[in-house]
Subunit: 211 residues, 2 copies
């Protein structure tokens, strides 16, 4: 009775299918969102779609750290107050934003653009590891290598550890300092509720008590 058995309009069906490709958006929500957009003024919808098109087509990546940026070099890399000898290695743009929110970090970043994952078919050459190695090589000739530090801030799973180990070996020839995010119980966490792995590592990696 209806086109395509379900949708009263091919245009609606196309929009619902497109919106349904977004992660976490099912068919039902996609329909709700399409009908919501249909009720908005034409200029609002045009602004909605053009802001997405512009993001995808015009965004740049910092030539130093691969963070997204409006210019050739991002705001962090071009900030003279940041310590460019300290590089925090993260998987994604979102990780940079999370760490920046803490206001605890004054070094710079390197965005890998993913993590080594044989299952997903992501190998070292798909990531910005060569660019990181080049940065470290250049810093290690400009400064005493022991003043240069790379901090791993990757996920704590097997893939994160594989990626860390791969990069660690790549950077070994430069004799710089390599560190990783502290892992342990969260602040305020109760011992009762901690999983065994976290608790075990928390004991093994215990820190000097500084009251």
């Amino acid at each position: 009775m209806m086109n395509s058995d379900k949708y009263p309009s091919k245009l609606l069906q196309d929009a619902v299918e497109s919106i349904g490709t977004l992660p976490g958006v099912g068919r039902r929500s996609a329909l709700k969102l399409a009908l919501h957009l249909l009720r908005q003024p034409v200029e609002n919808v045009r602004h909605f779609t053009s802001s997405i098109d512009r993001l995808r087509n015009e965004v740049k990546y910092c030539s130093v750290c691969r963070m997204i940026s409006d210019g050739d070099i991002c705001g962090i890399c071009s900030d003279a107050k940041r310590d460019r000898k300290t590089i925090c290695v993260v998987e994604s743009v979102q990780d940079v934003m999370s760490i920046e929110k803490t206001r605890q970090y004054t070094g710079v970043y390197h965005v890998l653009g993913g993590i080594i994952s044989p299952i997903d078919g992501t190998g070292p050459s798909d990531l910005t590891i060569d660019e990181l190695t080049a940065r470290v090589s250049s810093l290690a000739s400009e400064f005493p290598p022991e003043d240069v530090e790379v901090i791993f801030a990757l996920s704590g799973d097997v893939e994160g550890e594989t990626t860390e180990f791969y990069i660690y070996r790549k950077l070994a020839p430069y004799h710089i300092k390599v560190s990783a995010l502290a892992r342990g119980l969260g602040f305020g966490d109760d011992l009762d509720y901690a999983d065994e792995l976290t608790l075990g590592r928390s004991i093994a990696n215990r820190q000097i008590f500084k009251p």
Copy 2:
């Protein structure tokens, strides 16, 4: 340190703000969706935005029932097997789709485009009530009025009832049949869990037992 204190790119910020205007999408999810779109191939993003633009700019509304449609008359109104003397009055496009899914209804529809709501500032003139009256007037002159039926399928709240009553009075001069969706306990519902209003009306509107 970053543009706008939070976002590494104005383009990202614009896209996140646009996506965040969607109902049920918070800032955090909007950022996730923007970064997701950024990782997709350019042509996929172009297809995504153009399907939304086309929906908003090119969709038509059926000149008879106001359902969205690719042509001047929708698939339901142009289907000779549907009984055009029976008109189910609904608030929205989505309601038509819900009722169609039941495969229980063989009449046609009338989409009001909203509901009378003084709080939201929606009055009768914002809805397609005049068009409905014209349809009924024309049917009541073409057929015996008692063969023409309008079925109210609006929400069961005060606004729905206000709208039903308003339309009921508008249609009174044509002496057609007017009905409303059956309301009562849901099929399989337990008496224990029914709210008092539903249970009370369910008793008052009890139906002849047909085993």
